[in-house]
């Protein structure tokens, strides 16, 4: 394995959604919606067209193999731009500013005049049939020496609901795409660079959080193999595994190629109609199919069923290609008899196709058009096996496997978006772009300056509540209290099934201060109006609909110092035997009932001090008595 890893060349492309006020080319809010909230539907067909240079892109043509009708969901948060019924608005300047910030952090050079392009994508995920994208900056370096080739600002595609149905809520959310040079040599390095870039992106404070808001594409090749792009790796922790499995797949495909060559393997052009051979079959799929076609792969026996990734075989690759024609998959003799196909039928198949034991026969079954298309695809992919590894765009499957999506796109898939004017990035504009503090530097500073322990500092720096934390600390609230409240208390409250968003968003009730209630509550603790123990209860009251001042007031202590002493003495008196038995150690067990009595309205430290004194007095009294 070690040698395999050393031989790999990999690069990554990171796509991160930006958290701007509006979408990239319209004024809609960039919010995701539950599908059942859609307020309308429409449908379209997409067609590949001649691009600026007069060629139809190969990847686009591939999608055309199966001309599809796409359905789109609209919402009250989408407009005619997403529906491709209105020209785009000018490029969102806020999104561009974030891109420039990231570019500067990666020591890149901005493009003097940014042009928006139309990138052909006709899988239905873009209503227009293209994705708008602009090259913003080039040629940067990371501290570990990795080269960043390009930074692009793009619009996010529509989300797939199911099949050919898409939801327009996500379409048009700004997306920054960062592409590294293919300069990584180990799976772990790929993962580390992805982690670092993710950290850089989050340091801007302007990226969206949560599942699906960041995606990694990985480019991999090994010597003798081919460049393969793996799309949509969402989990950072899986990156190394995906790379390892792809290296393995390419190695196995090369081995298969060598063995095919030794055997003098070849792919028959002839496609035979073998529908009659299966007239009495028990296989449900073959039984129902109007047409069954057979392709003979000479010298392929055993190799089509050979595993190239856990659970995936060369046959899986053939099947991926056949699926492009709208069929569910293929059968091949390396896995037969099975699936209701009898040994006799396999023998008959070999007989009618003239296949020998050294050959593998592939079956495609379905309506004529689809079956013929699929048989051509099987022949195409089988021939590629004779050359080794095809250049492909692949999709990540669960666990880190990949499957074929489409050929690698060429440069012909882009032409100018003429409805969007170019944007100039002048030297003086670039000068004014400020670099934010990196989150890892921030974490180190929190630890150093505020005395937070390293893990807590790290957690708060990378938390989505970081802006609130910094605001709180800026107001003189104890960093430890702020961090614990934002990390732990909020989580506890949320576990109770309460909606904590109310606490984090500007409060327009009450005095209309418009600041998040969390800050108001922490302030009340700082001013001594309530004890920190009261925070969860205050939060509950605010979520329940109370404004911050009322919630704070309701929890403010009405217990005076002398009341507190009296409560402590009463409690000690009631448990005097216990106190005498335990001595000063009785403090801990008594804190619970004591806090219950004061209702969490007084700071625990103060309560503890008063209780301690009461215990000490009681013990002293006891001594005097005895």
């Amino acid at each position: 394995m070690a040698s395999e890893e050393l031989e790999l060349t990999a690069g990554i492309e990171i796509h991160q959604q930006l958290n701007t006020g509006e979408k990239l080319f319209c004024h809609c809010p960039p919010v995701l919606r539950p599908f059942d909230q859609h307020n309308g539907e429409f449908f379209r067909y997409l067609r590949a067209t001649e691009s600026e240079l007069g060629e139809i892109d190969q990847a686009a043509e591939e999608e055309m193999k199966n001309l599809r009708r796409f359905c789109y969901y609209t919402y009250d948060t989408t407009c005619l731009v997403e529906s491709d019924e209105e020209p785009p608005a000018p490029m969102n300047q806020e999104a561009l500013a974030v891109c420039l910030q990231i570019a500067k952090m990666c020591r890149m050079t901005p493009v003097p005049q940014v042009h928006t392009m139309r990138k052909l994508v006709i899988d239905g995920s873009n209503t227009s049939g293209f994705q708008r994208t602009a090259l913003v900056a080039v040629n940067g370096t990371l501290p570990n020496g990795v080269t960043i080739e390009t930074l692009c600002l793009e619009e996010e595609a529509a989300q797939r609901v199911e099949g050919d149905t898409f939801s327009l809520d996500r379409l048009g959310i700004p997306l920054v795409e960062i592409t590294t040079a293919p300069c990584m040599r180990t799976p772990e390095e790929v993962q580390e660079v992805a982690r670092y870039l993710g950290m850089v992106l989050r340091s801007t404070g302007k990226v969206r959080r949560g599942l699906g808001t960041i995606r990694q594409d990985i480019n991999i090749s090994i010597p003798g193999g081919a460049r393969v792009e793996i799309k949509g790796v969402q989990e950072l922790d899986l990156i190394a595994e995906v790379v390892k499995r792809e290296v393995k797949r390419q190695k196995r495909l090369l081995e298969i190629r060598d063995r095919l060559k030794e055997r003098g393997a070849l792919v028959d052009e002839l496609v035979r109609d073998v529908t009659g051979t299966f007239s009495g079959t028990k296989s449900q799929i073959l039984g129902k199919a109007p047409l069954i076609l057979a392709i003979v792969l000479r010298g392929f026996a055993g190799l089509v069923g050979e595993e190239i990734q856990p659970g995936r075989r060369l046959g899986s690759e053939l099947s991926d290609y056949a699926r492009k024609c709208g069929l569910g998959g293929i059968f091949h003799t390396d896995e037969l008899p099975a699936y209701g196909i009898s040994p006799e039928e396999v023998d008959a198949l070999r007989h009618v196709t003239g296949a020998t034991a050294g050959d593998c026969v592939v079956l495609v079954a379905g309506p004529r058009k689809k079956a013929e298309c699929a048989s051509r695809q099987v022949i195409r992919r089988a021939r590629m096996a004779l050359d080794g590894v095809p250049k492909e765009t692949r999709r990540m499957e669960e666990g880190g496997n990949t499957s074929y999506m489409r050929p690698l796109p060429g440069a012909a898939r882009m032409y100018p978006e003429t409805d969007v004017l170019p944007v100039s990035i002048t030297g003086s504009l670039w000068e004014t772009v400020e670099i934010p503090e990196l989150l890892e530097d921030k974490a180190a500073r929190f630890s150093r300056e505020m005395g937070l322990d390293a893990s807590l500092a790290d957690q708060i720096a990378f938390s989505e509540h970081l802006p609130l934390f910094e605001k709180a600390v800026g107001r003189g609230i104890s960093p430890l209290l702020a961090a614990r409240t934002l990390l732990a208390t909020l989580k506890e409250i949320s576990r109770e099934g309460l909606e904590i968003r109310t606490l984090l968003e500007g409060d327009h009730r009450g005095q209309g201060l418009g600041e998040p209630p969390v800050l108001g509550v922490l302030d009340a603790v700082r001013r001594g109006q309530i004890a920190k123990e009261a925070i969860p209860e205050v939060f509950r009251k605010i979520i329940g609909g109370m404004d911050v001042p009322s919630a704070v007031h309701s929890m403010a202590s009405s217990i005076t110092e002398s009341d507190l002493v009296a409560i402590a003495e009463r409690l000690v008196g009631e448990r005097i035997d216990f106190v005498r038995e335990k001595g000063p150690k009785a403090l801990g067990p008594l804190m619970g009932p004591m806090m219950k009595e004061v209702g969490g309205k007084i700071d625990g430290k103060k309560v503890s001090a008063v209780l301690k004194e009461a215990i000490e007095r009681a013990l002293l009294d006891g001594k005097e008595v005895s």
Partner: protein, 411 residues
């Protein structure tokens, strides 16, 4: 002298690296270069050097097989978004294709008919003129005389309604004359050009014998509506379903992708006869949109016009302050027609005093005619009538279904 020609291979220095690309055009003092990655960027002229001059290679037109057993259709092109291409000079989408390019761009057309194509103009439809309407009408008429069983006119959408109305009056056609365009540029995979073109060809071989507009009925790619040329109006700046029949139902529909066609019983049917052309137009006509506070001088400025259509308010009103100017205009021989800026509904100048005064001043009620159709009709009527009285009479006559005698519910 320009340093580079479009298509030249160049080297650009950016971020301390040299990048290869293709020179596209100049924009705001920057050179636009298409990098090998496909992206365009604008760079300073000083940062680019010529690598290789590449002479332009015109695209090789593909031969299109025509099935001689199919009906004969003619496609006349005037420009517009149904056939657009990128303009390297401005970076804008402009109309540049001729009719034969359309046939290449829209596979499926050859299954419906065999085609003859002819380029009348290559203009954006806002640049259309009455003399071009006349040229178009003559060309359409000629195609029909030469045996075309239907004619398709590709047209920019902005003024397609005017042109369709103009041809409706000028040409008495025994076969379908179909105007078609697209609202979303033809370069995009989602363009409505493909479906609109196929539906227009299907209409072209149908039993219809009118000048019509065939465009998307809804935002979906589900069907096209067939609109009567005198009743259709572009009602949205950008949507696919911008074209609407006003005050009447469409003449029919073409389903997509089945191309199943249904025609209303009111649609005129194909006849075995020669087309009749009455192409004369009086161009000295104007259309005024009244607004509160419009000074009489605006009316007076139309003194040279032989016909004036006013899109009035509501039932067909203008400020009573304008009535003397209108009266003078009529006395001096201008035919004044009142339409309504409501677009929906009928003009009736007998309800209010202002209306009655307008009638007394000699204004003709435009019924439920669209203001634009009333303008085109005025041009045609004044161009063809022997005298003013005949013109006024023709104006009141329903010639090409431009108005309805009855205002129906829901339309």
């Amino acid at each position: 002298m320009k340093a580079f020609s479009p298509g030249d291979l160049v080297f650009c220095t950016l971020g301390g690296q040299e990048r290869r690309g293709t020179y596209i055009t100049e924009r705001d003092g920057m050179l636009v270069v298409k990098l090998d990655s496909g992206y365009n960027i604008g760079v300073s002229p000083g940062d680019c050097v010529l690598l290789e001059h590449v002479p332009p290679s015109p695209p090789q037109p593909k031969q299109i097989a025509q099935d001689s057993s199919l009906p004969r259709l003619s496609i006349l092109s005037t420009g517009g978004t149904i056939a657009s291409r990128i303009d390297y000079r401005t970076g804008a989408v402009t109309s540049q294709f001729d009719a034969s390019d359309i046939l290449r761009a829209i596979p499926g057309l050859q299954d419906i008919a065999q085609y003859r194509t002819r380029k009348i103009a290559t203009i954006l439809s806002e640049n259309m003129t009455p003399s071009l309407w006349q040229e178009l009408a003559r060309a359409v008429c000629q195609e029909i005389r030469d045996g075309a069983e239907g004619v398709i006119v590709t047209h920019g959408t902005d003024t397609m309604g005017y042109s369709a109305a103009a041809l409706s009056f000028m040409l008495d056609t025994p076969v379908p004359v179909v105007f078609v365009g697209s609202q979303r540029s033809a370069d995009r995979p989602s363009s409505d050009n493909h479906m609109n073109a196929l539906c227009s060809a299907r209409t072209g071989v149908s039993e219809l014998a009118e000048v019509v507009v065939v465009m998307h009925e809804t935002t979906s790619d589900d069907r096209c509506a067939i609109h009567r040329g005198t009743r259709v109006r572009k009602m949205h700046t950008s949507r696919r379903d911008a074209f609407r029949s006003l005050g009447t139902a469409p003449l029919g529909y073409v389903e997509y992708p089945s191309l199943e066609l249904t025609l209303s019983p009111h649609a005129r049917r194909r006849r075995e006869e020669e087309p009749k052309l009455k192409e004369r137009l009086e161009e000295r006509c104007a259309l005024l949109h009244f607004y509160p506070g419009m000074p009489p001088e605006v009316i007076e400025a139309c003194g040279e016009c032989r016909g004036l259509v006013i899109a009035g308010t509501g039932l067909g009103h203008v400020s009573s302050r304008l009535i003397p100017a209108i009266r003078d205009l009529v006395r001096e021989g201008t035919m004044v027609v009142m339409a309504s800026q409501c677009l929906h509904g009928r003009v009736c100048d007998r309800v209010y005093d202002t209306g009655r005064d307008l009638l007394k001043a000699g204004v003709i009620e435009g019924e439920d005619m669209l203001p634009e159709t009333a303008l085109v009709k005025a041009m045609w009527v004044l161009g063809n009538a022997d005298n003013d009285e005949e013109a006024r009479q023709l104006m009141r006559q329903n010639i090409r279904g431009e108005y309805s005698g009855r205002s129906m519910h829901g339309q």
